[in-house]
């Protein structure tokens, strides 16, 4: 009796001695009629492509073909002799595993060669890199005029920002660089313990950075010292502190209380002082543009939409005891009856068409809303309002909301208010849009937390705020880091849409550069540049998210 190993080695020996054409054909070509047709079709197409390519690029086509044959040869020799070299094994596993795969590989390589050749010819061989002579008469016929990127660098980066205030932008960039360096240094494991206080200061500076950015790039107007604003601000801030203490979310200590008390007055005084000194005089926000505006919009939306989205998600998931039915229905019926007798008859009488007659019946809507609130949300107004807001926003495209922000703002502001510069309503509209999506993402995280965690927190006697702060949110947010960063990337990319509503962000300034007679006829050069910048930005963000995931996920499971 032979052992299993022996029989296998025998089988291998018998297989290795002769190449079995029948098995090879059946595996690769004649296995089924579908396979046969597929391989034949592939072969014919590839032959045509190769012939066509040969006419255009003889040398590279021949090189590719020779390399292909050599590869096949290597794999065949390796397979028949049972002695694969690393190269031939890799080729066999990854490129030349079957007849159809082998042909497909050739086809793809030919296509890639053609594409690379096209890009190379356009981008390097026929291209000019002169940044002075970029006018239409200097532009090569079949090549790129890369000089435009350098020539238009100021516009691309800052748009119409006055050159006199560019130093303030540099200040902002320098500031962020310093913060980054501080974070890096204080985050080193070897220095972490010694520089703990510096790390706290750095984190505070990070939190305050948006304010500094605002001071640098928007400026502080000269204004009178408003004492009541100081008092109201201080009282509000202290109230929040006391509320959090009352709900046992933060510990009480006199230094923190004093810090809370004086924070606003100190800040206000500095603000006022900067305004008085006129170092950072107001800049017309409408002159913002280029990559700067894109980054400002994207960063504002990212920073603002996370907390807002969190509030919306918690609102939607809220388990507050709803308004009972015995309050909802009587109120709704009384309101319906009231309007049915005061408003409807007149509307009905003057209706000009069936649609208006239908609209005259609007008090019935009150009943419908009452039914929805009672039935779907069990009287939970917080959940109903959050859900409505999220779903409304999510069903409209971003551009519509952006336009709405710009065009409708003058309608909804007080009649005597000044129409704000375009970036503000755009940021507000974009933040609302983004936070609705953010809310859904965070809700996914909240729902992923096992019920036991909520129950455990309840049984420990935690109040709602404590439960969320210490138990639920830390876990939920960690789960949803990847989708949240995905949203951030989306916010960064989609910020290019503000160009459609007339802002001169990176995309918008590019379009206006292309319309400039000086650079007429160019297009792809700048779009390629834009695509590369956006690609790099997005890639950096997703790489950072992967690192963050690893860091926060450490120790978990």
């Amino acid at each position: 009796m032979t052992t299993l190993t022996e029989s296998i080695s025998q089988l291998r020996g018998s297989l290795g001695r002769g190449f079995n054409w029948q098995i090879f054909l059946e595996d690769n070509i004649t296995g089924s009629w579908l396979q046969t047709i597929w391989v034949l079709l592939l072969a014919i197409v590839t032959a045509f492509v190769a012939a066509g390519q040969f006419a255009k690029l003889p040398v590279s086509t021949i090189v590719v073909l020779i390399a292909w044959f050599v590869g096949i040869l290597l794999v065949a020799v390796g397979a028949l002799s049972y002695r694969h070299t690393p190269l031939s094994r890799w080729l066999k596993n990854n490129l030349l595993s079957s007849v159809s795969n082998t042909i497909l590989t050739l086809l793809v390589v030919l296509a890639i060669v053609a594409a690379i050749n096209g890009v190379w010819q356009w981008g390097v061989v026929n291209a000019t890199f002169d940044s002075v002579n970029t006018a239409p008469e200097f532009q090569p016929d079949n090549g790129a005029t890369w000089g435009v990127i350098w020539a238009a660098r100021k516009l691309l980066m800052t748009g119409q920002l006055a050159p006199a205030v560019t130093w303030r932008l540099w200040l902002a960039i320098g500031w962020i660089a310093v913060l980054w360096a501080l974070s890096y240094v204080t985050g080193r494991p070897s220095l972490k313990a010694r520089l703990r206080q510096l790390r706290v200061v750095t984190n505070v500076l990070w939190v305050l950075y948006p304010l500094f950015l605002y001071i640098f790039l928007a400026g502080v107007p000269k204004a009178d010292y408003n004492v009541s604003a100081v008092l109201i601000g201080a009282v509000l801030l202290t109230a929040v502190y006391l509320l959090l203490w009352w709900q046992k979310v933060i510990n009480f200590s006199y230094p923190t209380l004093i810090a809370t008390l004086v924070a606003w007055p100190v800040f206000y005084t500095i603000w006022w002082g900067i305004g008085q000194s006129e170092v950072f005089s107001p800049i017309n926000v409408d002159t913002w543009g280029g990559l700067m505006l894109t980054l400002i919009i994207a960063a504002s939306v990212i920073v603002l939409s996370l907390p807002l989205g969190m509030v919306l998600a918690l609102g939607r998931q809220s388990q507050v005891y709803g308004i009972p039915v015995w309050i909802i229905w009587p109120v709704a019926i009384v309101a319906t009856l009231y309007y049915a007798f005061t408003s409807s008859p007149a509307l009905w009488a003057t209706a000009r068409n069936p649609v208006e007659q239908l609209l005259a019946l609007w008090p019935l809507l009150i009943l419908a809303v009452a039914y929805l609130i009672g039935r779907m949300f069990r009287g939970n107004i917080v959940s109903a309002a959050s859900t409505t807001f999220i779903e409304l926003i999510r069903s409209v495209p971003l551009i519509t909301l952006l336009f709405m922000g710009i065009v409708m703002a003058p309608f909804f502001l007080a009649p005597d208010a000044i129409t704000p510069p375009k970036p503000w309503p755009v940021i507000v509209a974009y933040t609302l849009f983004s936070s609705a999506y953010m809310a859904e993402t965070i809700r996914g995280g909240l729902q992923a937390i096992p019920k036991g965690q909520y129950e455990a927190a309840d049984s420990l006697g935690f109040n709602t705020l404590q439960k969320m702060r210490f138990i639920i949110l830390p876990q939920a947010l960690r789960i949803v880091i990847p989708p949240i960063v995905g949203q951030f990337i989306g916010a960064f990319k989609s910020s290019s849409l503000v160009s459609v509503v007339g802002l001169f962000d990176f995309m918008g300034i590019t379009r206006s550069i292309l319309a400039n007679p000086q650079w007429l006829g160019l297009r792809l050069e700048l779009y390629v540049f834009l695509a590369v910048v956006y690609f790099l930005g997005s890639s950096v963000m997703s790489a950072y998210s992967r690192r963050l995931e690893v860091r926060l996920g450490a120790g978990e499971r």
């Binding site: 089924s32 795969n101 793809v108 107004i381 519509t400 309608f411 009649p415 290019s496």
Partner: protein
């Protein structure tokens, strides 16, 4: 031993204390808070509404003015009935710029839907292919697919749209050097994409009825064969039988509908002595003096031009395609004179520009009655098949026939499909990878073929994972058709924008746009959720 202390006597609680206890009940506080929340919403809404009312008079005085000049909110949409005054590049033939705004808006909605529906279908195809390619065992293909996904996901849709539109479509050759894909008869140029389009003649209804019949008998056969399979335990080839019988019914329907219906006609003068379409051959032989129509090629160009059978048609009518198809098959040289409306064609026919006028019989009868010497004109029947294909053909400087997809439409569609195809590819990949390897191995162990493995084991399980995020992709795609405005595609948003600029009615149009988008989103998500419900795992 410890003694258990007796519980202290319960002190009587005063009524005020218990009342306080009720008030500080969490539920009471919650309800009161929510009522406060409602009041806050009402307060903010009133403030904004008040601002709006004040501003409506100041900023948008014209917004709510009725025809008689009075101010009334109910007249908000009255302006939509007045003349639009702008042209729409991608509109049905009968749209003229004197049509009301409503019509223009409707055309915008139609355009948005055209992109959205086709876009979702094509995205599903592209995303599936790319997702499967990501898992290919060919390293080149999977790497290529990876780069496709990475690039489409990490650059803004707007840039991709500009690349596709400015970098690809507008750099295609002009109409005269259009790229022609031979077998499919597709023309690609910087004026867009021309594809063959089916035109339904009136007999299509009969054929369609047969098709429905075919589907029904397919189902019946499927059930009957399935029962027999269960009874006897022997596999019968249900698919082949079903398809074969369906094809037979469809073919029968084709023959019947061709034989039965004679709604197409050709109006000719009695003097021409043509009584049926086949007489044309005799006439042509007489005219050219040839013995056989195959010899037409031997004629000189002038001779041919003189002998041509000149026929008037209404542009893009199925009658045109139907008749020219038959003439071409018979080998009769002909030229077509196209008009926009039947009465124009009749006019040309009456003045002798053409020898015949092809249309449906009812149109011809109506037109014939307008002729002065109506008795000297005959309407002869023309055979028809249910569906005729209108092929794009290059005639001089123009492409006629077929359906032309304009460059903006093609660009927007392509960009959306490429962008969302990349997103979907990742979902497809994740879905397929979520099916555990053991499932595939079990299928192979059972002896299922690769096709059966995919169809019966992997796909049903993968689809459950793919569909929910796929719904999101479809919804985003439908909404992102609004980007068309960036390249001048007249979708609903672009049309509304023009309307806004012309009329100044901003609020009304915004409400309208939001309403339509919400409806589209609702319909899309209802449909896809219904599908999701059908395929999702039924748990205990």
């Amino acid at each position: 031993m410890a003694q258990i202390a007796a519980p202290p006597p319960r002190e009587p609680v005063s009524i005020w204390r218990s009342l306080l206890g009720y008030i500080f009940d969490v539920r009471v506080i919650g309800v009161l808070g929510q009522i406060g929340f409602i009041l806050l919403i009402v307060f903010v809404a009133r403030a904004i509404g008040g601002n709006f009312a004040a501003n409506a008079g100041r900023l948008g005085e014209a917004q709510f003015i009725c025809r008689d000049g009075s101010f009334n909110y109910r007249c908000a949409y009255d302006f939509m009935e007045s003349e639009a005054g702008f042209d729409i590049a991608d509109a049905p033939k009968d749209y003229v710029n004197t049509d009301p705004y409503w019509r223009a808006f409707g055309i915008g909605v139609r355009n948005s839907l055209r992109v959205a529906v086709l876009g979702v279908i094509l995205t599903a195809v592209v995303g599936t292919i790319a997702g499967i390619a990501r898992l290919s065992n060919n390293w080149l293909i999977s790497t290529l697919a990876l780069w496709y996904v990475e690039i489409t996901r990490n650059t803004p849709l707007l840039i991709q749209l500009f690349f596709v539109y400015f970098g690809v479509i507008l750099t295609l050759p002009g109409l005269r050097e259009a790229i022609r894909i031979p077998i499919l008869d597709v023309y690609l140029s910087n004026r867009g994409l021309s594809i063959p389009s089916p035109q339904f003649t009136s007999s299509a209804a009969i054929w369609l009825a047969f098709l429905v019949l075919g589907v029904i008998q397919f189902q019946v056969l499927w059930i009957i064969l399935g029962r027999r399979e269960e009874r006897t335990g022997r596999a019968s080839n249900r698919v082949s039988w079903g398809i074969a019988s369906f094809l037979i019914v469809a073919g029968l329907g084709w023959a019947v509908s061709t034989a039965v219906s004679e709604t197409q006609g050709l109006m000719v003068t009695r003097a021409n002595r043509i009584r049926e379409v086949n007489d044309l051959e005799k006439m042509m032989l007489q005219r050219t003096g040839l013995n056989h129509l195959d010899d037409v090629d031997t004629l000189s160009e002038d001779e041919l031009a003189a002998a041509e059978f000149k026929v008037c048609v209404v542009e893009d009518s199925s009658s045109e395609t139907n008749l020219t198809r038959q003439l071409r098959r018979m080998g009769i040289p002909f030229s077509v004179n196209r008009s926009d409306r039947p009465d124009q064609a009749t006019e040309k026919y009456a003045e002798g520009t053409c020898e015949a006028f092809a249309a449906t019989k009812s149109v011809l009868a109506a037109e014939r009655s307008t002729l002065e010497d109506l008795n000297s004109h005959l309407i002869i029947p023309v055979r028809e098949i249910p569906i005729v294909w209108s092929m794009p053909t290059l005639e001089g400087l123009n492409l006629v026939g077929g359906t032309r997809l304009r460059p903006e439409y093609t660009g927007l569609l392509l960009a959306l499909v490429i962008f969302y195809g990349g997103s979907l590819a990742e979902m497809v990949r994740a879905g397929i990878q979520s099916v555990s390897k053991g499932q595939s191995e079990a299928a192979r162990a059972l002896g299922l073929t690769e096709g059966q493995r995919l169809q019966l084991i992997v796909l049903p399980q993968a689809l459950r994972v793919i569909i929910p995020p796929g719904i999101g992709v479809a919804l985003s795609l439908a909404k992102d058709t609004s980007l068309g405005i960036a390249i001048g595609f007249p979708d609903m948003y672009a049309v509304s924008y023009t309307t806004m600029n012309q009329s100044g009615r901003v609020l009304q149009l915004f409400l309208l746009i939001m309403l339509v988008y919400m409806l589209i989103s609702l319909v899309f998500s209802l449909l896809l959720n219904w599908y999701n419900e059908r395929i999702k795992l039924v748990e205990r």
